[in-house]
């Protein structure tokens, strides 16, 4: 019985994903498409060729970073909704480093860029961490607010400070040539760079940190029971700040894949919501590094898979991606989803059994009782 239960626990997220995808795809009926057809197009578009596979990996890379970011914060009992802002600031910092020290030669330049990204993201993560630890204000609202603030700041810096002089697009000037990181040639034209290896390394490091070090233990202890952690001599505030710094730094690494590995500059609107998708990725991956990598691949495939729908179908656009993500998150997030339907079945059973007894004594209804307890002066 015990193994059956754990087996169910293992497959439950997979069932949830399938259910979520199914519900999401059913919506395409409304557009007069066959969901099965749409699904086939998506699979082909995500895995059909080396290029397609490469694009899937390209989209998965930032999701690994943001997924890890949410996961680390989550283990410390914090909800990092601010991945979007942290990755923007991180990417902008990466670009800024690349523009300001454009002459830096190859092996040092990308390292500097990476450090810039980590630092930028970490700073943006430290703010809500500090606010939670020292002022007690909740990180969810603060990170949402910081997302908007970072959007404003990035737009200002991009348009006024680091503006690309040769273009009307909202983007910065390009970074030094030494900053561009090697591409993986296997995936044809797809911009898959060594950033994906960095992402995998980050996953390993996060695993090591959380489960092999004292610091990681303290972080998880704080997330599980803050009072007990404090009584055991753990500095809860420090751990909270540190967790958000790490989370921010991880999100800040998105710039490596987007700026150093692809665009060569920071563009406004570069992220199609990687920060928010990171929540789904972490959730689906149960905040385990391996799970995060796996679910990042799934969400990357979703993102790539829907991108061809615009011209492959009549009416279905790539917006389906958002819908599918939403339905998958909903189904995965629902704690009581499976037991809910289980209980419904059980209850029906019980009601039937009770009806067989056929005896129902009248109980006062709410409105009767209401009128009897009404006091009139």
């Amino acid at each position: 019985m015990k193994t059956g239960k754990s087996l169910f626990l293992f497959f439950q997220p997979i069932f949830s994903v399938i259910l979520g995808l199914g519900i999401g795809l059913l919506i395409t009926y409304a557009a007069g498409e066959s969901p099965w057809n749409v699904f086939q197009i998506m699979v082909k578009s995500a895995f059909g060729s080396r290029y397609d596979l490469g694009m899937t990996l390209f989209y998965a890379t930032p999701l690994i970073f943001t997924g890890l970011s949410v996961a680390v914060a989550f283990h410390a009992g914090l909800f990092n909704i601010g991945g979007e802002g942290q990755l923007e600031i991180g990417a902008l910092a990466t670009a800024a480093v690349g523009i300001c020290f454009a002459g830096m030669p190859f092996p040092f330049a990308p390292i500097l860029g990476v450090l810039g990204g980590i630092l930028g993201g970490a700073l943006w993560g430290a703010i809500p961490g500090w606010l939670r630890a020292r002022r007690g204000s909740h990180e969810v609202i603060n990170t949402i607010m910081l997302n908007f603030i970072s959007a404003g700041l990035c737009s200002w810096v991009t348009l006024y400070v680091l503006k690309n002089p040769d273009s009307q697009n909202p983007e910065t000037a390009s970074i030094g040539v030494g900053y561009l990181i090697p591409q993986l040639k296997f995936f044809a034209e797809a911009p898959v760079s060594v950033a994906i290896l960095l992402a995998l390394l980050a996953a390993v490091l996060v695993w090591f940190l959380l489960w092999k070090t004292s610091l990681g233990f303290e972080l998880r202890a704080v997330g599980q029971n803050e009072v007990a952690a404090k009584a055991a001599g753990i500095d809860v505030g420090k751990i909270r700040i540190l967790a958000m710094v790490i989370a921010g730094g991880l999100a800040g690494l998105v710039g490596v894949s987007e700026v150093l590995g692809n665009a060569g500059r920071f563009k406004i609107g570069m992220s199609p919501g990687y920060g928010f998708m990171g929540i789904a990725v972490a959730l689906l991956g149960r905040s385990r590094p391996l799970g995060v990598v796996a679910s990042a691949l799934l969400f990357g495939a979703l993102h790539k898979g829907t991108s061809d729908l615009d011209f492959e179908t009549e009416n279905v656009t790539r917006d389906l991606s958002l819908i599918l993500q939403a339905t998958v998150i909903l189904c995965v997030s629902a704690d009581g989803l499976w037991s809910f339907f289980g209980n419904r079945l059980k209850n029906k059973h019980q009601i039937k059994k009770n009806l067989k007894g056929k005896l129902n004594f009248p109980v006062k209804t709410k409105s009767e009782a209401e009128s009897s307890s009404t006091v009139t002066p």
């Binding site: 233990f217 202890a221 007990a228 001599g233 006091v375």
Partner: protein
């Protein structure tokens, strides 16, 4: 005459654990009926079934001879119970803190003026004036006054309880269930409550009171039912029983209220010295003086909520508190230390509320053992955790402390209270502490484990560890302490040596009575 409440063969289990088994119980109208039993004996569960919070697996309940719930009638909800005149004051008060007393009393039965009857009932304006008039009548009838406009968060526990009782009376409840009503009350508040309850009883209300304080039972009730392990083991008239008999029935064997008398303490150096300590809090500490030597157990007796929590906070997290006075621990001034630095002095802590302050409930036994030791060799090595040594050590302590089930990987939430407490003690004793703070060390722990925990504490004392024992169990205080201080409203009001005081005197002093 029919009994007003009658349980017939009620059974209820949670996740396969029997909370109530074949329960039979009869309560006479217009009496105060006490239900006594140890923690976890199933008293609260039975009453929550009567109130409709839980639905039993089988059995029937009759109210005044009529079927209230059972095989032939679906079980009722709390709202049905309220309409049938059953009311319950839960152990944890059901009050909204920022709301006023009046709003809390009215909740669910809001009166509305007659002109508004065309509106759906949930949109009719609340007629606060009518409610006040009715409440004033009730207050006058039973002599219970409260400030109806006071916000709950600004009232004392005693007043909150009065509000809870008024809530029931406002709903015209005839059967009042009170779950451990005196656990958080001072002696005076308890006296006042009892006076009120007697008055209610004279006016024809039936009162069911759950408690484990036997003297209160003798003082208040007319009949008593004893629960043990989910069953009714006896029912007695108060006139025909005694505290000793009830205690024996509750525990299931002859209770040795004395315990083995430990040898004379071998006093070591001064371990803890608190001078003139003041601290603002829920119950503020005022000019506290106390000291504990190595090899000595100092017992602090007192009803909960008389400053014990504040004292613990001051000792464990001095830096976070704005405390006045001096605090010396093991020869160092610690008044500005963090918990981390306090711990590094070899101080062990058995917390008041182990779920909240001592354990990571969802994590394994192994990880819980590590909590607080994660930076100490041999489990710590250059930032990393030595899993091998940890696993080995956990296996050893599971055997030594007889923690069941014998597995390092189960979540501690699945362990019984006693086994959880043993785990905490194993952890705190891993490196022999030089000073130990033990707060309510045997709360919610089964009898077998109590003896083993007491033995561990006495062993530590023998080895020269100074122990500050905070407990509201008089037996425990009397059995273990070399000296006893009584705490009342944030002050030390009495001091006794071992053997110089009886339970009666101690109880009186805890309730604030002067010598």
């Amino acid at each position: 005459m029919n009994p007003i409440v009658e349980f017939r063969g009620i059974c209820k289990s949670f996740h396969g654990v029997k909370a109530n088994a074949d329960l039979h119980l009869q309560v006479k109208k217009g009496t105060i009926h006490a239900i006594v039993g140890e923690n976890g004996a199933g008293k609260s569960t039975a009453m929550k079934i009567l109130y409709g919070t839980y639905q039993p697996d089988s059995g029937e309940i009759y109210l005044d001879g009529k079927l209230w719930g059972g095989r032939m009638k679906p079980w009722s909800s709390p709202s049905d119970a309220i309409h049938c005149g059953i009311g319950m004051v839960h152990q944890h008060f059901m009050l909204g803190a920022p709301q006023t007393a009046l709003e809390n009393i009215l909740l669910g039965v809001e009166p509305s003026p007659s002109w508004s009857s065309w509106l759906p009932f949930f949109l009719r304006p609340i007629d606060y004036q009518a409610a006040r008039i009715k409440l004033n009548q009730i207050s006058a009838q039973y002599g219970m006054k409260v400030d109806l406009d006071a916000k709950i968060e600004n009232t004392s526990v005693g007043v909150q309880q009065r509000i809870e009782i008024l809530k029931l009376l406002y709903r015209d409840a005839n059967i009042l269930i009170l779950d451990e009503p005196t656990a958080v009350l001072t002696q005076q508040e308890t006296e006042e409550l009892f006076t009120n309850l007697r008055k209610l009883c004279q006016q024809g209300k039936t009162i069911l009171i759950i408690t484990h304080k036997l003297k209160e039972v003798m003082n208040l009730a007319s009949r008593v039912t004893v629960f043990r392990r989910g069953r009714v083991v006896a029912e007695r008239d108060i006139g025909r029983t005694s505290v000793e008999e009830l205690a024996t029935l509750m525990v299931g064997r002859k209770v040795n209220l004395q315990g083995a008398i430990p040898s004379q303490p071998k006093l070591g150096e001064l371990a803890l010295e608190v001078k003139n300590l003041s601290l603002d809090g829920h119950c503020s500490l005022r000019n506290l003086d106390l000291h504990v030597h190595g090899g000595e157990i100092l017992g602090i007796a007192g009803v909960e909520g008389n400053g014990q929590t504040e004292l613990l906070q001051a000792l464990l997290h001095p830096k976070d508190q704005s405390l006045k006075g001096s605090l010396r621990l093991l020869g160092q001034d610690v008044s500005h230390f963090t918990a981390d630095r306090i711990r590094s002095l070899c101080v062990g802590v058995i917390p008041e509320d182990r779920h909240r302050e001592g354990l990571l409930l969802k994590k394994s036994v192994q990880e819980n053992f590590l909590l607080g030791l994660q930076r100490r060799p041999p489990f710590y090595n250059k930032g990393l955790i030595s899993t091998k040594k940890l696993t080995h050590e956990v296996r050893r302590i599971i055997d030594e402390y007889d923690i069941r089930p014998k597995s390092a990987d189960v979540a501690v939430s699945t362990l019984s209270g006693g086994n959880q407490q043993k785990l905490i003690i194993a952890r705190e004793f891993e490196f022999p502490p030089r000073f130990l703070i033990a707060a309510q060390p045997t709360r919610g722990v089964d009898v077998g484990a109590i003896e083993s925990i007491h033995r561990r504490l006495l062993d530590a004392r023998q080895k020269g560890c100074g122990i500050l024992l905070i407990s509201s169990e008089l037996d425990e205080i009397l059995a273990l302490s070399d000296r006893i201080l009584v705490m009342y409203e944030g002050k030390i009001v009495a001091e006794f040596q071992r053997g110089q005081v009886t339970e009666q005197v101690l109880g009186l002093r805890m309730g604030g009575a002067s010598a």
